[in-house]
Subunit: 569 residues, 2 copies
């Protein structure tokens, strides 16, 4: 039985079943036929078959893709998403049902379309799993997410390990160990911040489940395209997807260290956990700020006390805390800690890059202010001044203050013990949560030391009998890429090929502590390929990703892998 006969058999079965799509049973027929097939790729919703003679038959059920597409891109015109596919619409439910032979270029597009479908479908499924790493009650959900990723890796043909050092496992995978091809390590995370909204547009679409699946389907697409041409995947891939990124990446560095052989030969670490500067111009991220998380706690009382019965004759922890924590930063967001700004350098490269962004029109102060929903921005001369502040200057936020038992980090407080009437209760303890973003070349140990000395000094001024405790909850270092490297240039070409636009170079105010760990442990530089738009709202209730960005982001990754191969030529 040759491929045409198999295909005919599949089609006959299909037509008998009243125009339903080929399904697993159809695929099973193909498999059972024992025909010498090449480039047979099976998925739950599509079937691609190419024979040894180069005749290609593609079966794909349009209605499935339509459904996925609807969910994925409500906010944009459909024809943006996949012009090739849209042009074909109206030919009946089953596309390619007439089994026309197509050219290799059109095959590539067909493969891409099918990977798009699968990517959207997989993302829909994955974001349905509320894998909130900070919530211990959702640990099973985190594990479900990890297994989902592991299964996707296995479908790719990768060897997979779930490395569980602390709580949620790191999903490690390896595809190929060919000595003469480049090795790429993909890093991402499957855990998310909690979201209040239902449905698939929940947290994780952008941060970071969308991009993680984008990586996997980029590899799949490249693999299928190569297979269709009778070739093997021209790269080795290593994968490393953690489940504690939103919760301090507990145990990740140790796991990476212990499993280094999985990543042997890594030439570049690919990460997509940043965003574009605006809505339309693709970007490459070349630097991030660092993060220090501090608890500033005041203790001293053995228990809560009554503000009426006893208020006024002892130092109150909350009053002490407010007085001392208020000395960290002023109303202009200037950090008032002596010595804090010593290591900051003015970077001329950044100023030049900011001018390019200014000219691009991708970022303007009014839109940004409106997007943030703040009454006004702090006075800056221009958009690039503001961006410089946002990206290249440190900032200090007091993100929370907790009173009494709710200050206990170990217990997720179920409710305020004294309810809305706690006006009479002086809390025995008060803890302020401080988030500090710092920039190259500031060193976190120095900054922490400056802050401790400053706070202790200010606390001493209060002459309080309470005790000040400063606890470092987390540190993540800043990161900077070498924008002149071959790899960075390859990334630029990968973006340009997909979008026909030169990517803007951007920094970000956020932090990815794991980048430094990855670069150091794997001895390879990281490249950050952001998928999403500035308006994606990572960590917030309405986090989202635009369908176009998801699919084209995947394409950029595929392009980058091809560029890597070309670098070897």
């Amino acid at each position: 039985m040759n491929i045409n006969q198999v295909t005919q058999q599949v089609l006959r079965r299909h037509h008998r079943r009243n125009n339903h799509a080929p399904d697993h049973s159809s695929a099973a027929v193909v498999e059972r036929s024992g025909a010498s097939l090449k480039g047979l790729v099976l998925g739950p919703q599509h079937l691609i078959v190419s024979n040894m003679e180069g005749e290609i038959y593609v079966y794909s059920m349009a209605s499935v893709f339509e459904e996925a597409l609807k969910k994925c891109s409500e906010s944009q015109p459909k024809d943006e998403l996949c012009p090739e596919r849209c042009a074909k619409r109206g030919r009946g439910e089953l596309q390619g049902c007439d089994a026309e032979p197509i050219t290799p270029k059109r095959l590539r597009l067909r493969i891409q379309t099918n990977c798009d479908t699968e990517l959207v479908s997989a993302l829909r499924e994955l974001v349905g799993i509320p894998s909130v790493s900070a919530d211990k009650r959702l640990q099973d959900e985190c594990f479900r997410s990890a297994k989902f990723i592991a299964r996707q890796l296995e479908i790719l043909g990768a060897e997979v390990k779930m490395a569980q050092e602390v709580r949620n496992p790191v999903v490690i995978g390896r595809l190929g160990r060919k000595p003469d091809v480049p090795t790429v390590t993909f890093y991402g995370h499957y855990d998310v911040q909690p979201a209040l909204e239902d449905g698939w547009r929940t947290n994780g679409t952008s941060d970071n489940k969308g991009p993680v699946l984008g990586f996997l389907f980029a590899v799949k697409e490249l693999m299928e395209s190569c297979a269709a041409e009778g070739k093997e995947l021209p790269i080795n891939c290593a994968f490393c997807f953690e489940g504690e990124e939103e919760n301090g990446s507990h145990g990740f560095a140790a796991t990476l260290e212990a499993n280094q052989h999985w990543f042997s030969g890594t030439e570049v670490v690919l990460v997509s956990n940043t965003l574009w500067i605006g809505e339309t111009r693709p970007c490459l991220t070349y630097a991030l700020r660092g993060l220090i998380c501090l608890d500033v706690g005041v203790t001293g009382l053995k228990r809560d006390l009554h503000s009426g019965n006893d208020g006024g004759v002892f130092n109150e922890p909350m009053v002490d805390l407010v007085n001392v924590i208020g000395t960290l930063v002023d109303g202009r967001n200037s950090i008032l800690v002596p010595g804090f700004s010593e290591d900051i350098e003015e970077h001329h490269r950044d100023r030049k890059i900011l001018e390019i962004i200014d000219r691009s029109g991708e970022f303007n102060l009014d839109d940004y202010r409106e997007y943030l929903g703040v009454p006004s921005l702090l006075e800056r001369r221009s958009a690039s001044d503001l961006l410089y502040e946002r990206w290249c200057a440190p900032s200090l936020s007091i993100v929370d203050i907790r009173a009494g038992d709710t200050a206990n980090e170990e217990i997720l407080p179920e409710c305020y013990r004294f309810g809305p009437t706690r006006f009479s209760v002086i809390p025995h303890r008060a803890v302020g949560k401080v988030s500090i973003r710092f920039v190259p070349k500031q060193r976190p140990e120095n900054l922490i030391s400056c802050i401790k000395i400053h706070l202790q000094h200010e606390f001493a001024k209060l002459r309080s009998s309470n005790k000040l405790e400063i606890t470092v909850r987390n540190i993540g270092d800043w990161w900077e890429a070498d924008t002149d490297s071959r790899l960075f240039k390859a990334a630029e070409r990968a973006v340009e090929r997909e979008w026909n636009l030169e990517p803007l170079h951007v920094r970000e105010g956020g932090t990815m502590p794991m980048i430094a760990t990855l670069e150091k442990t794997l001895r390879a530089p990281a490249i950050m390929l952001p998928f999403g738009q500035a308006s994606n709202n990572p960590h917030l209730a309405n986090e989202r990703i635009r369908g176009v960005n998801l699919l084209r982001g995947k394409n950029v990754v595929r392009n980058f892998l091809e560029e890597l191969v070309d670098l070897r030529k």
Copy 2:
């Protein structure tokens, strides 16, 4: 069948049932007998019968009382509780089983012992109902508490009304409308602050369920003693027990106003919602501080924002709040608001009273410091200096600061939305909760005005684009008694008769806004008869009342009613 025959029948039944106590069925026998009885009082755990000839038979099951007693006074020697009863111990399980006739004086003691038993038992039942008014989910429990009190009033023979103006009903009762006897209005509340501990020593024992039941059983005891002597109760009683005291007394003033006829003729309002200064000397409270509850909120952002992505370029509500709220009070607990202290007068009477307290040894700084569990007290020259500060000077506490959605007063926050990792989230809103205690002759409107002007001035200095909102959540005025009045002197005698000790005159730092309302509406002065010790911890997790204080507190109230009657002679 005469009373002796009935009694014998009860006793025979009792003995047949192997020394078990008389129960409801025994009582039913008595009732069914149709004998002409006087002073028959039935309760689930005891039976008191007195006949027309003055022969008295008292049946009481000691084991029941013992059990209640054990729960009530673990921390103190039992013989303190009821010397008369303890002297009788060892005579067998059933006290008075031998049915000996006793003298009127001993009858009085027996009635007292039985009221003690019932009081402890009733309190155990009432504090088992978690009537937390601040928690809407517990509204049914509040209603159960109200019904419990209403039932107790009905047992007394009072006419009862549940007046429900807003949420939890005010239980109103009236017992007697005789024109020629004094009328006393009892005020108290059946709602409580939440407690974390199980069992009957939960919140409410001291604040205020214990004293409320103490009132009822004082009336009951007086009534029974009078009945035993063939007399009627020589006073009229009005009752007024609210269920929103811990939640701002919503609707109470209006309910009182609308039901004034229930309280007609009120000569004095009796309240017991304060504490002794120490552990052994009974006290009378003659003044309270006022309370202003303020929300100081900073808003401006439409939603929470990411401290990494956007931190540093706009004014953050929490930073603004900390900077502005910190200007209210310094590390020495001095209120820094201009004009705040204008109306405060030094009171020589208070200084003299404080010297008496100093000499009593009831209050010393080391014990107080240790009791509070604070590392040290603010420097004062003496105990009376500290008490002056605690009672006669204003204080300002920052009792809580809430971030983002948890700042919403309407929603009792179930958990922090961003869990322990909210370090990256700049809350869109921050609210500080400020509790201000003020003293005679300060006027709350003036103080609020001073604070608003000061905070707006300090906020303006920040030049922030956010908005400052100051919301008055609650105001309760200070209160002062006329310590030279006939009623106050009567209260002194009532205490002295029970304790053989002159009561100390004390003030308190806490606030009871309803006292002023009651005095004004009923046009009668209030007398505060504290039941409990300084260590009772109202509003806190380990709130308690000592058995002795509960029972003797009830006796003081009974004595006071008798003193009131004597004032008329």
